[in-house]
């Protein structure tokens, strides 16, 4: 009888175990994409940690006033950027220095922020948590708050088999949620997988895009992750010199990270300071607005010659990079658990 009980217990455990999502189910490298840069072996994906990371991402406890969360400036409906705000507003409605970038396909990136100041995804969240214009909190106090707020101790226990909350665990869980934000289900992706076709206009836009834009906005991630000066004149109020702030090298003056164009439809306004409200303004900049300087990207020395019709065709192609399944994925949205457990 005793053996029967043990065997039954083991069988049930095996069946339950088979329902725990495996790494391949939690993170799939889309077909024809390069291997991700993130070292998953140091932070193996786990559904309970992704869930916890999602709650942390949407939790105001990360800020001094308990009101500003990561999602305050990175909304799922804007591909985790901040629609309508040129410069994001943080704690006490203070205005920040830069336009919140989209958070998508971060496993393929090896530097973060517009100037690449952060060298690892795990350490990224420390910047907004401690920035006086963003969340104005410190990680020690965040942990003290999480220790006494439901449902966090219980969720840390589920994720780690003990309820100890550390800085390392908080940061790695937030990373896990951000790593799960993979967008690869746009019309462009369907066309590449031969399950859809571009219209004639989109096709011409794609041709023009490959001719004029893809050296920096390289497929399939639509960025080559380099830092470039794309000819924007210096904003004399912000005086943001970009990458040079990190490297202290004059050759990096006015260079900013090339952003991904995936879900560009949802991530307006555009550029590091959000100076352009829409895509026609962006394309017009590349045709007539380039400011020449010694660090200007070589490809832009003569601007990009595009007729108004060609600009419309490129825009039509760019809209093919929208991934509605990603934007409206309930697994990425606000977790209702935060409402119930207050």
């Amino acid at each position: 009888m005793r053996y029967v009980k043990i065997i039954s217990f083991l069988s049930i455990a095996c069946i339950l175990g088979s329902f725990v999502p495996k790494f391949d189910e939690l993170f799939k490298v889309p077909v024809n994409w390069p291997q991700p840069k993130y070292a998953f072996e140091r932070n193996p994906l786990d559904s309970s940690k992704i869930k916890l990371g999602r709650l942390l991402f949407y939790s105001g406890l990360l800020s001094r006033t308990n009101k500003i969360s990561c999602a305050s400036c990175h909304s799922p409906y804007a591909s985790f950027a901040h629609t309508d705000h040129a410069l994001s507003h943080g704690i006490d409605d203070k205005i920040g220095n830069r336009n919140a970038p989209a958070l998508v396909n971060l496993a393929w990136s090896n530097s973060f922020m517009w100037d690449g100041a952060i060298n690892h995804l795990d350490m990224q969240a420390l910047f907004p948590i401690t920035h006086p214009l963003e969340m104005d909190e410190n990680i020690q106090r965040v942990i003290q708050k999480l220790q006494i707020h439901k449902p966090f101790p219980k969720l840390f226990y589920t994720a780690y088999n003990d309820s100890t909350i550390t800085g390392e665990r908080v940061l790695k869980c937030i990373s896990q949620f951000m790593l799960s934000l993979v967008s690869a289900e746009s019309k462009y992706d369907s066309v590449m997988r031969h399950s859809a076709e571009f219209t004639a206009q989109e096709k011409n836009g794609y041709r023009l895009f490959k001719l004029h834009c893809s050296s920096c906005h390289t497929e399939p991630l639509f960025t080559n992750y380099s830092f470039q000066n794309n000819g924007l004149p210096l904003d004399t109020m912000l005086k943001d010199l970009g990458r040079m702030k990190v490297t202290h090298d004059g050759n990096d003056s006015l260079k900013f990270k090339v952003p991904t164009l995936r879900n560009i439809e949802y991530t307006y306004p555009y550029m590091h300071d959000g100076r352009f409200k829409n895509l026609p303004q962006v394309l017009l900049h590349y045709v007539t607005g380039i400011t020449k300087s010694s660090t200007l990207a070589a490809q832009l020395k003569n601007g990009i010659p595009l007729s108004p019709n060609e600009r419309v065709d490129i825009t039509a192609f760019l809209l093919c990079l929208s991934d509605k399944k990603f934007i409206f994925n309930p697994s990425n949205a606000y977790p209702k658990e935060l409402l119930y457990d207050k």
């Binding site: 060298n119 995804l121 420390l126 942990i143 800085g167 390392e168 490297t247």
Partner: protein, 230 residues
């Protein structure tokens, strides 16, 4: 061929047995910040001729502890990262588990955190970001933090704030220290705070909080402030 293989297997078995039979013992490495031969505690003040200094905060990393014998590395600590913090006296006593039979004549360690660790994401224990030794506005560990109030009879008091670090090639502030040792029972090192505070770099800069030339210079000064207590 078969005989050769058998000898190799036997040798492997002997080596493996030796490996598992090796016994270890604890070596205490005491790293003590001192001023005028007194141990430095948080908020303690010291006289400097006509002036005085009150140390409010002093933390630094020692890492990559190794022992050498006749110039050859003979033992390295795995996951060797130790944060020395004057607010936590126990942190000044670094316990190292070394092989019983270890013979060494030189201790080597780093003041600070190496560049590989600085680009490898979040870690726990002494490297946890909650220790307050990770920059948040840019990436990388702060190797040494010293903050205090310098009071002078001839001038206004000034706050001294030094957050020394930097891991990139042209800003690497990591310092490697080497000390000849005579025994492996207990090793005591002092960090001379007065020598640090009265250094030329400190006289010229009351604040250094970013990687760069000054941070490298003051890190080299910090290296020279360590001495082995014989």
């Amino acid at each position: 061929m078969k005989r050769g293989l058998l000898i190799l297997l036997v040798q492997l078995l002997i080596d493996t047995t030796n490996l598992f039979s090796q016994t270890n013992r604890l070596l205490t490495l005491e790293v003590l910040p001192v001023a005028d031969e007194q141990t430095v505690h948080a908020e303690k003040c010291f006289s400097l001729k006509n002036d005085s200094i009150c140390i409010e905060l002093l933390k630094f990393y020692i890492s990559g502890i190794q022992f050498f014998n006749k110039g050859i590395p003979v033992w390295s600590e795995i996951q060797s990262f130790h944060l020395i913090d004057i607010e936590k006296p126990q942190s000044c006593l670094v316990k190292i588990n070394i092989p019983d039979q270890l013979v060494a004549d030189e201790l080597v360690f780093n003041l600070g955190i190496d560049s590989l660790t600085s680009v490898s994401g979040a870690f726990g224990a002494d490297l946890d970001p909650t220790q307050g030794m990770y920059w948040t506005w840019q990436s990388g560990y702060i190797n040494l933090k010293l903050e205090g109030l310098y009071k002078s009879k001839d001038a206004l008091a000034k706050r001294l704030v030094y957050h020394l670090g930097g891991y990139q090639q042209n800003e690497n502030a990591l310092q490697t220290l080497r000390f000849e040792i005579k025994q492996l029972n207990s090793i005591k090192l002092n960090f001379d705070v007065i020598k640090f505070i009265t250094s030329e770099v400190v006289k010229q800069h009351a604040h250094i909080m970013s990687p760069g030339r000054e941070a490298i210079q003051l890190s080299a000064t910090a290296k020279s402030c360590f001495n082995l207590v014989k």
